[in-house]
Subunit: 350 residues, 2 copies
């Protein structure tokens, strides 16, 4: 390490740290059954017979991933499992088994932890996930819940983020920016909106719905070239996809699917809903790429799976052109603003 | 919940809390391929073809599982993976794939996290585990590392903790109490012992060696009736095994295998090494039960696997007799003193 190399993880940032850590791993052996190791939404292991295991984990920390106040235990449990299911959905897999690891202070109310489990139970039943066990440990500080999830997929249908091609269209399920709008409402309970708008937006943030059926439909059609889920924000996640695939992208600002609810709130708060859609994060929609000719069949498949629209929002271009946003006739380079846990923008909700 | 039911997890205790949480899970479906769900060292899933998956997770929290000072990043990484491998070994399985989830403050030194990964890498290579990925999140407080581990086992050889039978002998691999003695040395660096004694004892605490080869040898012989690993302390873990199997036990104090190193330290500090062996915890040896007639073959199998002794330390009796310690001719009931993260005894190392 050179003299002026970053000495604390906060200087390095989340993604550079992960890269550095992966470089420390020097396996002394190979495993031919590992199809995808580190670097995608989930790891993929050949299970034989044309099937594979898709495994992932993600942690939710109080004060970082959810505000310490205003979020019930039920929502914490719901979200902890749902965001992991979303990673499996992003590969075109079906979630199967989960294990939960919880950390909490000794003065945590029993009722709060029971609510967390009620949230887990509800999501597990909705998406047919079996919770196989877990452990509970004491911390002196924030509550955390870490979920490990195993899913299954057809080996030939698994979709990666590293296989997008120049010329492909970029598509997204559902609408974008609702979770960011919902977080705004949770953080500002004084804002008055219609009841159903409030429910739609806060639930988009507190109870994300992983797009499992849509992901399966897309994978089974074998028409998409790449897929991932949207957790860090569209521009950040698109940046990950482009880097992994070695391509660039143009996003069409006018085409971003905004919900009537997000538009209603934005007109009230004078926020820019396009900003929510671009960098709000936590929408847990699927972001995919596919040749233009495949788009109608994919749209029909996604609609049949759950009624959601699948909206073209841009196109993949050669890497040399970078990632740009098209507004009218103007093309502006997009700086990736992915949620980075160690960067000043990622101050959390503490 | 009645009026005077415990309201905080600290009042309830770790094991009662886990029981309460498991009761909140009400799966709306069955999975016939799940052989063992919640409650053993690891969950077991039928993988077809006579094989099964054995999956587990365990977290290490700074200040709880290891002292905030005096433990290098390498040791934290080593132990985090080793204790999970021990859970797979306890089922007679072979560890395969791991995912790591880390939480840390922004001012954590990059070099510390790199050392953690060096520790992970070393253990992964020693026991042929492939690290498939992970994630890093920011906390405002203690460092934690949560590991999920998938292993494989032969379906017919998997050993559970719930199948011990009255009349069986109780056996343990290696020696007991070395980890407790090592913790004592780490906590009291002023104590002077011989270099090799220091290394043996502190390494027993800082670099536990999961008994994978021994576990496989025992499982393949199909002579043992039950098995688990020793993490919470012999009396506590034996209590778990007895409750799960619906049996009681008599432990023979004189037969507990104590190492020369532990005896050397105990004579210096005037500690009781039998106490370290009974309730020190973190030895990560295998605790098993087997009919008396099977003991010689099991001892030979364990010796051939890695040179360790397999020592008879007691016998399984009917549940009505409880769990007792035999010292000379005297039988004393043992109160289970398992490490409980939320009990006053479990104050951690903060």
């Amino acid at each position: 390490m050179s003299e002026d190399a970053p000495k604390e993880v906060g200087e390095l940032g989340e993604f550079a740290l992960i890269e550095r850590l992966c470089a420390r791993l020097r396996p002394s052996f190979q495993r031919s059954e590992v199809i995808v190791g580190i670097g995608d939404d989930a790891a993929v292991i050949d299970a034989g017979g044309g099937r594979c295991w898709v495994v992932t984990c993600d942690v939710q920390v109080q004060g970082r991933h959810f505000p310490a106040k205003g979020v019930s235990g039920f929502h914490v449990g719901h979200k902890a499992l749902a965001v992991n299911i979303s990673d499996i959905a992003a590969m075109g897999g079906r979630p199967r088994y989960a294990i939960a690891s919880l950390g909490m202070r000794a003065d945590t109310p029993v009722s709060f932890v029971e609510e967390v489990y009620d949230g887990l139970n509800s999501v597990a039943n909705r998406w047919s996930v079996l919770l196989l066990g877990g452990n509970v440990t004491r911390t002196e500080e924030s509550f955390f819940i870490d979920i490990f999830l195993m899913g299954e997929a057809e080996r030939e249908s698994v979709l990666l983020r590293s296989t997008a091609k120049a010329g492909d269209q970029i598509l997204v399920t559902g609408s974008l920016g609702d979770a960011a709008a919902g977080l705004h409402l949770v953080a500002h309970p004084e804002i008055q909106v219609r009841d159903d708008t409030h429910t739609i937006l806060t639930y988009a943030f507190l109870r994300p719905q992983p797009r499992v059926e849509e992901g399966l439909a897309i994978a089974q059609l074998r028409l998409a070239s790449a897929m991932m889920d949207l957790s860090d924000g569209l521009t950040g996640d698109l940046g990950h996809l482009c880097r992994a695939s070695g391509v660039g992208a143009v996003l069409w600002a006018h085409a971003l699917p905004l919900s009537a609810s997000a538009l209603e709130l934005a007109s009230l708060t004078r926020d820019n809903p396009v900003e929510w859609a671009l960098s709000g994060g936590e929408d847990y929609q699927l972001l995919l790429t596919a040749p233009v000719s495949a788009v109608p069949a994919l749209q029909e498949g996604v609609r049949a799976a759950g009624g959601l629209p699948l909206t073209p929002i841009g196109e993949i271009v050669p890497a040399s052109q970078g990632i740009r946003l098209k507004q009218g006739d103007e093309l502006t380079p997009i700086t990736s603003r992915a949620w980075d846990h160690f960067r000043p923008t990622g101050e959390g909700y503490a």
